[in-house]
Symmetry: C2
Subunit: 152 residues, 2 copies
């Protein structure tokens, strides 16, 4: 969505609106998420950014989540995974590997996505549900795990 350079400006601006500061650690955290090809667990983030103290990561992810800059997902394992929010990354869905727990971003064909949205809106209306968003995950084995032949 936003160009690499723009991202940090967007984040900075959004944070300042809430009297929050865009500190070195926060910048590093956003950078980790930007570079990642997939939603990350906190453990993964800590492994990559060894200089970030655990508590800062937890606290800043919470701040980002409240600010709507980052969203928490849940894949196959039991841990949450974090990625940049959809308005920064664009709407998409996930390939969730039930063997290794990885999550990969994918986009639906625009046509289907549009039809799905229409249908869900209708369904929500019928159920008196105030629809804000939808999540669609494909669950199965990622390329690597399928090749490795493990089925767990």
């Amino acid at each position: 969505m936003a160009v690499t350079g723009e991202l940090h400006d967007t984040v900075a601006a959004r944070l300042q609106q809430g009297d929050s500061r865009y500190t070195r650690h926060r910048r590093a955290l956003i950078e980790v998420l930007r570079v990642a090809k997939q939603p990350m667990t906190i453990a993964e983030i800590l492994a990559v950014a060894t200089d970030l103290p655990q508590s800062s990561v937890y606290r800043n992810l919470a701040v980002f989540e409240e600010t709507g800059l980052v969203q928490r997902l849940v894949g196959a394992g039991d841990f949450g995974r974090f990625e940049l929010a959809e308005d920064l990354l664009g709407h998409h869905h996930h390939l969730v590997c039930s063997s290794c727990g990885s999550m990969l971003d994918v986009e639906l064909p625009a046509e289907l996505e549009a039809e799905l949205e229409r249908a869900l809106a209708t369904l929500a209306r019928r159920k008196r549900f105030q629809l804000h968003a939808h999540r669609l995950d494909l669950v199965g084995l990622c390329r690597d795990c399928a090749a490795a032949g493990r089925a767990s």
Copy 2:
């Protein structure tokens, strides 16, 4: 899907295949899930079945999950929710309330469901992903929370 009476037989049979027993507690747990109109958290289960010790609930849900009789879901809050597996309950999706965390089962129009499945299969093939299942959640405000006007 299965008629009420059949359910317990099905569960019993499935458990016996794995050298597991269908005990009083397990029966009670399945019954709680059967009666529930929506996926339940462990706290909710414990509140309803006050005679079930916590550790039994945890252990038995784990057993059921491994046996494929129950599946764990994650809604809006941070807790897992449990419901009978799809082959017992039928394929469906969820209305997830981001205010109160409740989850309600819903079915997609069969036509759309079929088309969605076709499209996802194609997508998976293209990504070399071995698709086993999909999850689709509608996120927003349930009828009650929307009426109450709370937006959190």
